[in-house]
Amino acid sequence: MLSKRLYDWIDLRIGAREIVKKELTGYLLPKKINEWYSLGSVLMVIFGLQIATGMLLMVYYVPDPEKAFKSITFIMNEVPYGWLIRLCHAVGSNMMVAVLLLHMFSVLMMGSYKSPRELNWLTGFILFCLIQGISLTGYLAPWSQLSFWATTVATNSAAAIPVIGPYLVEFMRGGKLVGPPTLGRFFALHVAVLPAVIAALVGAHLFLLKRTGISTPPSGVQQSRNPWPVESYRYESHPGGIPFFPNYALQDLTSISVYFAVFLAVVFFAPNFLFTPDAFVPANPFQTPAHIKPEWYFLANYQTLKIFPSELLGLSVQVAAMTLLALLPFLDRSPERNPLKRPLFLVCSIGGILIWIGLTIWGHYS
């Protein structure tokens, strides 16, 4: 057969069979691996789709305050299937944050962040921050009332930082207020700087994953304690485990298909659930619309700023919470990974998540 001869030809030159054996069919995963482990693959597909739709949008989008809103209106109304590409990009960015939160939740619950995987957690946490950053910068691009004023509110929160705060806000905006300079720098960050940094960090995250080996899920196994510390570097292998290809690759594909079904259901049936009517009014720097709110994933931060008597206090609490989350694997050093055997951890983490959800809902209705 032609395909087999082609494969032989390539194999002879680059040793393709060896790579496949090592990285795919011979790459063994824990026997008790579950669906949650496929969220990383789903995220990579989402990121890829964001890049593809983003590139397509750049064909017609003009990053100029005079033309940005019109170009988006043109994409949404005139260009064939422009609405689809644009909605996929806008809905996709929200889905990316949502799936990222689920991914972090599963890692948290299965204790996979624990030693020796501190670096996996840390790179993942930085990726989480960068994804929020890329969403924030992209939010300004349509230059609508919603994007303009949500950006004003979001950048303004940095003003609470003592001494450098006001200058920091001005630096981020490229001026005293959000304006044409802001669009220029946000656009550059959104389409060039952040995608490159995120791609690099995804690479680092995957490298760490491959070097350390996949963690064993703690549920349903006898030994849920990490065999750590050890004296020297050791790859966590899973002899007798299930091969990545084809077994787990098919799980990845199943999850990706389910994700796409949910994602496109939003795109086709509830696209406006993300937009308020202000999203379709061009930005007016002299008129703040009533009830302007940041995106849903910033609502908790927004509400925290509001409930504390001083903005500095509110900001400090957020910084403390984020630092705690970033350094979690360094603070939580017990080898036990099964959450059911760690009541204190379970209470704290579920409590934290409930507080976050509560603040988000409160922020939404406040």
């Binding site: 397509l56 064909v59 260009v79 064939p80 299937y81 689809l84 590409i85």
Partner: protein, 139 residues
């Protein structure tokens, strides 16, 4: 083995479904990127005869490409494509010599669009027009 035939059947189904999914994803992208079709070129353009004095040429966009109206010193009026038939540069009107020069490779055309010298393989395409009541209608 039962599993084998099952696997084969599912594989065929999935291959078909994947092709369908790829086509469904590709079609909007191609339509999104496709140039605007239709309408271009059916529009007629109207100029006042006074717009073009004797010996002058007027360049304009017509049917999505460049065209030129020229009135020779002798008073003859012509409408031509301004795209050189050699490599697609835009010809220039040389008022003093009363001919068209393509600046890319020095192709010369007469005001009627005939090749006088240089590499162009074909004359410039003629564009239909009518003159009535001091108005030139191109198209």
């Amino acid at each position: 083995m039962e599993n084998d035939s099952r696997r084969k059947f599912l594989g065929v189904c999935l291959a078909g479904a994947t092709v369908a999914a790829a086509a469904a994803a590709g079609y909007p992208v191609i339509r999104y990127l496709a140039p605007k079709s239709g309408k271009v070129g059916t529009d007629k353009l109207v100029f006042a005869t006074s717009d073009i004095p004797d010996g002058e040429a007027k360049f304009f966009e017509y049917a999505g490409t460049s065209a030129v109206l020229v009135k020779t010193n002798a008073g003859a009026l012509l409408a031509l494509s301004a795209v050189c038939t050699h490599m697609g540069c835009i010809v220039q009107w040389e008022k003093d010599k009363q001919d068209f020069l393509c600046p890319c490779h020095a192709g010369h055309y007469s005001p009627e669009g005939e090749v006088l010298s240089g590499p162009p393989p074909k004359p410039l395409a003629k564009i239909p027009f009518t003159v009535a009541d001091g108005k030139i209608t191109v198209g």
